[in-house]
């Protein structure tokens, strides 16, 4: 049998692991390998063994450029972490944290125990929810006149102006529409962030990875919110109210989750 290394998924409290025996957990990222808890004092890391030859520095970098290889393993990582996070407070680790020896990982658990315990405590009973804000440009542009006071005023004046003046004003209106639309989207996004923040314990604005155009329009903003389980109903209601409020402007809200608290675990 070839040499093995330890792949780490997440960290939980040792006390919680009794309820989560490895046999009850989803599949590990590599076939022919099982999940196991490695416990040191109050903390336990959920790990599985991976062949060192596939997860050494060089080969891992090479594998990662193979999108199918990475996608399969990233999905398995998520399935495992999600399963555990639904049942107990965990610190989710980013994909690809590997220890060559059991001792290295045990030392980490000891060395960082204070920080890890603080995170677990802070996250107890909380989940991460994602909010994606989309905007349908065509709908926004057609509704922008009613949203923007400047434009409304200009349209009224153009209607009363002479044909020559009116023509020039209409041209100006078209250019202004585009600017105003951009301002309106930014304003709406800020408003959504403000209002949802009130309902939650923490918020992050996330980077948009690619310009995504879906049936809901173009992705304009992405947020992650830390929400108490007991406060989820209110959070969802607030999101629904915002969605209704901004629907006429072509704005759509998409709620994703609950996620393990990936965005709220920095040390």
């Amino acid at each position: 049998m070839s040499a093995l290394a330890f792949y780490v998924y997440c960290i939980a409290e040792s006390a919680a692991t009794a309820e989560l025996p490895p046999d009850s957990l989803p599949a590990a990222i590599e076939d022919d390998s099982k999940l196991e808890w490695i416990s040191v004092n109050t903390l336990a890391a959920l790990v599985s063994r991976v062949p060192r030859e596939s997860y050494s520095e060089e080969t891992l970098a090479e594998h990662l450029t193979d999108a199918t290889w990475t996608a399969i393993r990233a999905m398995r990582h998520e399935t495992v972490v999600e399963y555990v996070a639904k049942r107990t407070s965990v610190v989710p680790l980013r994909f690809g944290t590997i220890y060559l020896e059991r001792e290295g990982m045990q030392q980490m658990l000891v060395g960082r125990s204070r920080e890890l315990e603080d995170i677990i405590d802070h996250l107890r009973g909380r989940e991460e929810w994602g909010v994606n804000v989309y905007c349908d440009r065509a709908v926004l542009l057609s509704s922008i006149t009613s949203v923007s006071p400047v434009l409304r005023d200009l349209v009224q004046r153009a209607e009363q102006a002479s044909p020559g003046q009116s023509y020039l004003m209409l041209k100006k209106i078209e250019t202004l529409k585009v600017d105003e639309a951009r301002t309106a989207v930014n304003r709406i996004v800020e408003q959504i962030e403000e209002k949802l923040k009130v309902q939650t314990d923490d918020a992050r604005r996330l980077r948009i990875l690619k310009v995504e155009t879906t049936e809901h329009g173009e992705l304009k903003a992405k947020f992650a919110f830390l929400v108490k389980r007991s406060a989820f109903e209110e959070f969802r209601d607030a999101a629904e109210r915002l969605a209704q409020e901004h629907q006429a402007a072509g704005v759509r809200l998409e709620l994703t989750g609950p996620w393990p608290v990936y965005n709220f675990v920095s040390m």
Binding site: A5, I72, L93, R94, Y99, L100, M108
Partner: protein, 70 residues
Amino acid sequence: MSDFDQVIEEWEGTDLSLLETLDHVLNRGLVIAGEITISVADIDLIFVGLNVLVSSVETAHEVLKNRHPE
């Protein structure tokens, strides 16, 4: 089974959005110093390939769904 088919199969077993999942797992989560960890620079590179894969998986998923309407 090809790797591509495997991605589709594993994805169908979950109700996760593929791109959202990859984004969470690869870009976020606690980074602790393992003996081997992926660098941030690598992640940007990985995502270029993943975006292409996600598009083709989603397309294949649509085709399959249309072939076997529920």
